[in-house]
Symmetry: C2
Subunit: 190 residues, 2 copies
Protein backbone atom coordinates (compact mmCIF):
# COMPACT_ATOMS: atom_id res chain seq x y z
CA UNK A 1 0.00 0.00 0.00
CA UNK A 2 1.45 3.35 -1.04
CA UNK A 3 1.83 5.77 1.84
CA UNK A 4 0.72 9.02 0.22
CA UNK A 5 0.88 12.29 2.17
CA UNK A 6 -0.30 15.77 1.27
CA UNK A 7 2.45 18.40 1.25
CA UNK A 8 2.10 21.76 2.97
CA UNK A 9 4.64 24.38 1.97
CA UNK A 10 5.48 26.70 4.86
CA UNK A 11 6.40 30.24 3.91
CA UNK A 12 8.28 32.23 6.55
CA UNK A 13 6.08 32.79 9.60
CA UNK A 14 6.22 33.62 13.27
CA UNK A 15 4.70 32.18 16.46
CA UNK A 16 4.35 34.62 19.34
CA UNK A 17 3.93 34.30 23.09
CA UNK A 18 0.96 36.22 24.53
CA UNK A 19 3.45 38.53 26.27
CA UNK A 20 4.95 39.44 22.89
CA UNK A 21 1.49 39.81 21.29
CA UNK A 22 0.74 42.33 24.06
CA UNK A 23 3.94 44.29 23.40
CA UNK A 24 3.57 44.27 19.62
CA UNK A 25 -0.20 44.89 19.35
CA UNK A 26 -1.25 46.28 22.76
CA UNK A 27 -2.09 44.79 26.16
CA UNK A 28 -4.66 41.97 26.01
CA UNK A 29 -4.74 41.93 22.20
CA UNK A 30 -6.20 38.77 20.63
CA UNK A 31 -4.95 37.49 17.26
CA UNK A 32 -7.71 37.31 14.63
CA UNK A 33 -7.91 33.95 12.81
CA UNK A 34 -7.85 34.47 9.02
CA UNK A 35 -7.47 30.90 7.74
CA UNK A 36 -7.40 27.51 9.48
CA UNK A 37 -4.22 25.45 9.00
CA UNK A 38 -3.97 21.70 8.45
CA UNK A 39 -3.33 21.00 12.14
CA UNK A 40 -6.52 21.22 14.27
CA UNK A 41 -6.84 24.52 16.19
CA UNK A 42 -3.94 26.21 14.37
CA UNK A 43 -4.59 29.26 12.20
CA UNK A 44 -2.94 31.93 10.07
CA UNK A 45 -3.76 35.22 11.74
CA UNK A 46 -4.83 38.42 10.00
CA UNK A 47 -1.90 40.16 11.68
CA UNK A 48 1.65 40.39 10.38
CA UNK A 49 4.83 41.83 11.89
CA UNK A 50 8.03 43.26 10.44
CA UNK A 51 11.34 41.55 11.27
CA UNK A 52 14.84 43.00 11.06
CA UNK A 53 18.20 41.25 10.75
CA UNK A 54 21.65 42.80 10.41
CA UNK A 55 21.55 42.60 6.58
CA UNK A 56 17.88 42.83 5.65
CA UNK A 57 14.25 42.80 6.72
CA UNK A 58 10.87 41.42 5.83
CA UNK A 59 7.99 43.88 6.13
CA UNK A 60 5.16 41.38 6.45
CA UNK A 61 5.70 38.10 8.23
CA UNK A 62 2.50 36.18 8.89
CA UNK A 63 1.69 35.31 12.50
CA UNK A 64 0.41 31.79 13.13
CA UNK A 65 -1.87 31.33 16.13
CA UNK A 66 -2.83 30.61 18.76
CA UNK A 67 -0.17 32.20 21.00
CA UNK A 68 2.52 29.77 22.23
CA UNK A 69 4.73 29.51 25.29
CA UNK A 70 7.77 30.90 23.45
CA UNK A 71 8.07 33.09 20.36
CA UNK A 72 9.74 31.49 17.36
CA UNK A 73 10.25 32.52 13.74
CA UNK A 74 10.62 29.97 10.97
CA UNK A 75 12.47 31.08 7.85
CA UNK A 76 14.10 29.43 4.84
CA UNK A 77 17.85 29.26 4.25
CA UNK A 78 17.30 31.77 1.41
CA UNK A 79 15.64 34.12 3.92
CA UNK A 80 18.54 33.63 6.35
CA UNK A 81 21.01 35.02 3.77
CA UNK A 82 18.74 38.00 3.12
CA UNK A 83 18.41 38.78 6.85
CA UNK A 84 22.05 38.04 7.62
CA UNK A 85 21.07 35.59 10.36
CA UNK A 86 22.73 32.18 10.44
CA UNK A 87 19.71 30.14 11.55
CA UNK A 88 20.14 26.41 12.23
CA UNK A 89 17.84 23.62 11.03
CA UNK A 90 15.79 22.67 14.09
CA UNK A 91 12.60 20.96 15.13
CA UNK A 92 9.86 23.40 16.06
CA UNK A 93 10.10 24.33 19.75
CA UNK A 94 13.80 23.47 20.02
CA UNK A 95 15.19 27.00 20.11
CA UNK A 96 17.92 26.74 22.76
CA UNK A 97 21.05 28.50 21.48
CA UNK A 98 19.43 29.82 18.28
CA UNK A 99 19.96 33.41 17.07
CA UNK A 100 17.54 36.23 17.82
CA UNK A 101 15.83 38.89 15.73
CA UNK A 102 14.06 42.24 16.10
CA UNK A 103 10.28 42.17 15.64
CA UNK A 104 8.10 45.26 15.15
CA UNK A 105 4.33 45.58 15.45
CA UNK A 106 1.95 48.54 15.42
CA UNK A 107 2.17 49.04 19.20
CA UNK A 108 5.80 48.24 19.93
CA UNK A 109 8.97 46.29 19.37
CA UNK A 110 10.41 43.06 20.76
CA UNK A 111 14.06 42.04 20.54
CA UNK A 112 14.01 38.24 20.64
CA UNK A 113 17.28 36.89 22.06
CA UNK A 114 16.61 33.53 20.34
CA UNK A 115 13.99 31.72 18.26
CA UNK A 116 15.10 32.04 14.62
CA UNK A 117 15.12 28.57 13.04
CA UNK A 118 14.90 26.80 9.72
CA UNK A 119 12.24 24.19 10.43
CA UNK A 120 13.37 20.60 9.97
CA UNK A 121 11.13 18.88 7.43
CA UNK A 122 8.58 16.64 9.12
CA UNK A 123 5.31 14.79 8.73
CA UNK A 124 2.38 15.07 11.14
CA UNK A 125 0.59 11.75 11.57
CA UNK A 126 -2.57 11.01 13.46
CA UNK A 127 -1.92 8.16 15.91
CA UNK A 128 -4.23 5.87 13.92
CA UNK A 129 -2.44 6.34 10.56
CA UNK A 130 0.97 5.95 12.15
CA UNK A 131 -0.11 2.63 13.70
CA UNK A 132 -1.58 1.38 10.41
CA UNK A 133 1.58 2.32 8.51
CA UNK A 134 3.95 1.05 11.21
CA UNK A 135 5.56 4.43 11.79
CA UNK A 136 7.11 5.39 15.15
CA UNK A 137 7.29 8.87 16.68
CA UNK A 138 10.61 10.61 15.77
CA UNK A 139 11.36 8.01 13.09
CA UNK A 140 13.40 9.44 10.20
CA UNK A 141 11.68 8.74 6.89
CA UNK A 142 12.64 8.86 3.23
CA UNK A 143 9.95 10.62 1.21
CA UNK A 144 9.79 10.95 -2.58
CA UNK A 145 8.36 13.90 -4.45
CA UNK A 146 7.74 13.37 -8.19
CA UNK A 147 6.96 15.99 -10.82
CA UNK A 148 9.30 18.29 -12.72
CA UNK A 149 12.20 18.11 -10.24
CA UNK A 150 11.88 14.72 -8.60
CA UNK A 151 13.85 14.04 -5.43
CA UNK A 152 13.89 12.00 -2.26
CA UNK A 153 14.02 13.86 1.03
CA UNK A 154 15.84 11.91 3.74
CA UNK A 155 15.65 12.50 7.50
CA UNK A 156 12.01 13.57 7.38
CA UNK A 157 10.93 13.49 11.03
CA UNK A 158 7.73 11.60 11.94
CA UNK A 159 5.62 13.39 14.56
CA UNK A 160 2.65 11.50 15.92
CA UNK A 161 -0.31 12.69 17.99
CA UNK A 162 -4.05 12.13 18.19
CA UNK A 163 -4.24 15.93 17.75
CA UNK A 164 -2.50 15.82 14.34
CA UNK A 165 -3.81 15.57 10.79
CA UNK A 166 -1.70 13.90 8.10
CA UNK A 167 0.50 16.56 6.45
CA UNK A 168 4.13 16.87 5.40
CA UNK A 169 5.70 20.25 6.11
CA UNK A 170 8.56 21.56 4.00
CA UNK A 171 9.81 25.09 3.50
CA UNK A 172 9.88 27.17 0.33
CA UNK A 173 13.48 26.23 -0.58
CA UNK A 174 12.59 22.56 -0.34
CA UNK A 175 9.36 23.04 -2.31
CA UNK A 176 11.17 24.99 -5.04
CA UNK A 177 14.00 22.45 -5.26
CA UNK A 178 11.39 19.71 -5.69
CA UNK A 179 9.16 21.69 -8.05
CA UNK A 180 6.17 21.03 -5.80
CA UNK A 181 3.34 23.28 -4.71
CA UNK A 182 1.13 23.42 -1.65
CA UNK A 183 -1.49 20.65 -1.73
CA UNK A 184 0.43 18.27 -3.99
CA UNK A 185 1.47 14.88 -2.60
CA UNK A 186 4.56 12.88 -1.68
CA UNK A 187 5.14 9.17 -1.08
CA UNK A 188 6.84 7.69 1.99
CA UNK A 189 9.42 5.14 0.77
CA UNK A 190 10.50 3.82 4.18
CA UNK B 1 34.21 2.73 -6.37
CA UNK B 2 32.27 5.74 -5.13
CA UNK B 3 31.51 8.30 -7.81
CA UNK B 4 32.14 11.54 -5.94
CA UNK B 5 31.49 14.88 -7.63
CA UNK B 6 32.16 18.44 -6.45
CA UNK B 7 29.06 20.62 -6.25
CA UNK B 8 28.91 24.12 -7.72
CA UNK B 9 26.01 26.26 -6.52
CA UNK B 10 24.83 28.64 -9.24
CA UNK B 11 23.41 31.92 -8.02
CA UNK B 12 21.24 33.83 -10.49
CA UNK B 13 23.33 34.91 -13.50
CA UNK B 14 23.04 35.99 -17.11
CA UNK B 15 24.73 35.03 -20.37
CA UNK B 16 24.72 37.72 -23.06
CA UNK B 17 25.15 37.74 -26.82
CA UNK B 18 27.80 40.17 -28.11
CA UNK B 19 24.98 42.21 -29.68
CA UNK B 20 23.39 42.65 -26.25
CA UNK B 21 26.78 43.39 -24.61
CA UNK B 22 27.14 46.19 -27.16
CA UNK B 23 23.69 47.62 -26.38
CA UNK B 24 24.10 47.37 -22.60
CA UNK B 25 27.74 48.48 -22.29
CA UNK B 26 28.54 50.25 -25.55
CA UNK B 27 29.57 49.18 -29.07
CA UNK B 28 32.52 46.76 -29.13
CA UNK B 29 32.62 46.44 -25.32
CA UNK B 30 34.53 43.43 -24.00
CA UNK B 31 33.51 41.72 -20.74
CA UNK B 32 36.28 41.73 -18.12
CA UNK B 33 36.99 38.32 -16.56
CA UNK B 34 36.86 38.54 -12.75
CA UNK B 35 37.03 34.87 -11.74
CA UNK B 36 37.43 31.65 -13.74
CA UNK B 37 34.57 29.11 -13.42
CA UNK B 38 34.88 25.34 -13.15
CA UNK B 39 34.34 24.85 -16.88
CA UNK B 40 37.44 25.68 -18.97
CA UNK B 41 37.26 29.13 -20.63
CA UNK B 42 34.15 30.23 -18.71
CA UNK B 43 34.37 33.17 -16.32
CA UNK B 44 32.37 35.40 -14.01
CA UNK B 45 32.68 38.91 -15.40
CA UNK B 46 33.29 42.06 -13.42
CA UNK B 47 30.14 43.50 -14.97
CA UNK B 48 26.61 43.11 -13.68
CA UNK B 49 23.24 44.19 -15.09
CA UNK B 50 19.88 45.04 -13.54
CA UNK B 51 16.85 42.92 -14.51
CA UNK B 52 13.17 43.84 -14.21
CA UNK B 53 10.11 41.59 -14.03
CA UNK B 54 6.47 42.61 -13.61
CA UNK B 55 6.62 42.13 -9.81
CA UNK B 56 10.22 42.83 -8.84
CA UNK B 57 13.80 43.41 -9.89
CA UNK B 58 17.36 42.46 -9.10
CA UNK B 59 19.87 45.32 -9.20
CA UNK B 60 23.03 43.30 -9.70
CA UNK B 61 22.94 40.11 -11.73
CA UNK B 62 26.40 38.73 -12.51
CA UNK B 63 27.29 38.26 -16.18
CA UNK B 64 29.05 35.01 -17.07
CA UNK B 65 31.32 35.11 -20.10
CA UNK B 66 32.39 34.75 -22.77
CA UNK B 67 29.51 36.09 -24.89
CA UNK B 68 27.20 33.40 -26.30
CA UNK B 69 25.03 33.05 -29.39
CA UNK B 70 21.84 33.86 -27.47
CA UNK B 71 21.24 35.75 -24.22
CA UNK B 72 19.84 33.69 -21.35
CA UNK B 73 19.21 34.38 -17.67
CA UNK B 74 19.23 31.58 -15.10
CA UNK B 75 17.26 32.18 -11.91
CA UNK B 76 15.92 30.09 -9.04
CA UNK B 77 12.23 29.34 -8.48
CA UNK B 78 12.43 31.66 -5.46
CA UNK B 79 13.71 34.42 -7.77
CA UNK B 80 10.90 33.70 -10.24
CA UNK B 81 8.27 34.52 -7.59
CA UNK B 82 10.09 37.74 -6.69
CA UNK B 83 10.30 38.83 -10.35
CA UNK B 84 6.78 37.63 -11.19
CA UNK B 85 8.08 35.58 -14.12
CA UNK B 86 6.94 31.97 -14.46
CA UNK B 87 10.21 30.48 -15.70
CA UNK B 88 10.32 26.79 -16.67
CA UNK B 89 13.00 24.28 -15.67
CA UNK B 90 15.14 23.87 -18.79
CA UNK B 91 18.54 22.72 -19.94
CA UNK B 92 20.90 25.59 -20.67
CA UNK B 93 20.50 26.78 -24.28
CA UNK B 94 16.96 25.40 -24.64
CA UNK B 95 15.08 28.69 -24.45
CA UNK B 96 12.39 28.24 -27.13
CA UNK B 97 9.04 29.44 -25.74
CA UNK B 98 10.48 30.72 -22.43
CA UNK B 99 9.46 34.08 -20.97
CA UNK B 100 11.43 37.29 -21.47
CA UNK B 101 12.74 40.01 -19.18
CA UNK B 102 14.02 43.59 -19.31
CA UNK B 103 17.78 44.02 -18.82
CA UNK B 104 19.49 47.35 -18.11
CA UNK B 105 23.16 48.23 -18.33
CA UNK B 106 25.12 51.48 -18.08
CA UNK B 107 24.79 52.23 -21.82
CA UNK B 108 21.31 50.97 -22.64
CA UNK B 109 18.45 48.55 -22.22
CA UNK B 110 17.48 45.27 -23.87
CA UNK B 111 14.03 43.72 -23.74
CA UNK B 112 14.62 39.98 -24.12
CA UNK B 113 11.57 38.28 -25.65
CA UNK B 114 12.74 34.95 -24.19
CA UNK B 115 15.59 33.38 -22.25
CA UNK B 116 14.47 33.26 -18.60
CA UNK B 117 14.97 29.72 -17.29
CA UNK B 118 15.47 27.75 -14.11
CA UNK B 119 18.47 25.61 -15.01
CA UNK B 120 17.87 21.86 -14.83
CA UNK B 121 20.38 20.31 -12.42
CA UNK B 122 23.21 18.60 -14.27
CA UNK B 123 26.71 17.22 -14.02
CA UNK B 124 29.55 18.09 -16.37
CA UNK B 125 31.79 15.09 -17.05
CA UNK B 126 35.01 14.97 -18.98
CA UNK B 127 34.77 12.26 -21.64
CA UNK B 128 37.38 10.19 -19.84
CA UNK B 129 35.59 10.13 -16.46
CA UNK B 130 32.26 9.37 -18.07
CA UNK B 131 33.79 6.39 -19.87
CA UNK B 132 35.43 5.11 -16.67
CA UNK B 133 32.20 5.43 -14.72
CA UNK B 134 30.01 4.05 -17.52
CA UNK B 135 27.92 7.19 -17.85
CA UNK B 136 26.24 8.15 -21.14
CA UNK B 137 25.55 11.70 -22.39
CA UNK B 138 22.03 12.87 -21.38
CA UNK B 139 21.67 9.98 -18.89
CA UNK B 140 19.47 10.87 -15.91
CA UNK B 141 21.30 10.18 -12.65
CA UNK B 142 20.36 9.89 -9.00
CA UNK B 143 22.77 11.86 -6.84
CA UNK B 144 22.91 11.91 -3.03
CA UNK B 145 23.91 14.89 -0.94
CA UNK B 146 24.62 14.18 2.75
CA UNK B 147 25.02 16.66 5.56
CA UNK B 148 22.40 18.44 7.64
CA UNK B 149 19.53 18.05 5.15
CA UNK B 150 20.33 14.87 3.25
CA UNK B 151 18.44 14.17 0.03
CA UNK B 152 18.70 12.38 -3.29
CA UNK B 153 18.29 14.46 -6.44
CA UNK B 154 16.75 12.46 -9.28
CA UNK B 155 16.83 13.36 -13.00
CA UNK B 156 20.27 14.94 -12.77
CA UNK B 157 21.32 15.29 -16.42
CA UNK B 158 24.74 13.97 -17.46
CA UNK B 159 26.57 16.22 -19.92
CA UNK B 160 29.77 14.90 -21.41
CA UNK B 161 32.49 16.67 -23.39
CA UNK B 162 36.26 16.66 -23.61
CA UNK B 163 35.90 20.41 -22.88
CA UNK B 164 34.24 19.79 -19.50
CA UNK B 165 35.60 19.47 -15.96
CA UNK B 166 33.78 17.30 -13.41
CA UNK B 167 31.22 19.47 -11.58
CA UNK B 168 27.58 19.18 -10.52
CA UNK B 169 25.55 22.35 -10.97
CA UNK B 170 22.53 23.06 -8.78
CA UNK B 171 20.80 26.33 -8.02
CA UNK B 172 20.45 28.14 -4.70
CA UNK B 173 17.03 26.61 -3.88
CA UNK B 174 18.45 23.14 -4.39
CA UNK B 175 21.58 23.92 -2.36
CA UNK B 176 19.53 25.39 0.48
CA UNK B 177 17.10 22.45 0.50
CA UNK B 178 20.07 20.09 0.73
CA UNK B 179 22.01 22.20 3.25
CA UNK B 180 25.03 22.15 0.96
CA UNK B 181 27.51 24.86 0.05
CA UNK B 182 29.66 25.55 -2.97
CA UNK B 183 32.65 23.20 -3.09
CA UNK B 184 31.12 20.38 -1.03
CA UNK B 185 30.57 17.00 -2.67
CA UNK B 186 27.81 14.65 -3.76
CA UNK B 187 27.74 10.96 -4.65
CA UNK B 188 26.26 9.49 -7.82
CA UNK B 189 24.09 6.50 -6.80
CA UNK B 190 23.18 5.27 -10.30
Amino acid sequence: MEKIVPVGVSARHIHLSQEHVDTLFGAGYELKPMKPLSQPGQFAAEETVAVFGPKGKFDKVRILGPARKASQIEISKTDSFQLGIDAPVRESGNIEGTPGITVKGPAGEVVLDRGVIIAARHIHFHTKEAAEWGIRDKQLLRVRVGGTRPLVFEDVIARISDQFALDMHIDTDEANAAGIKNGETAVILD
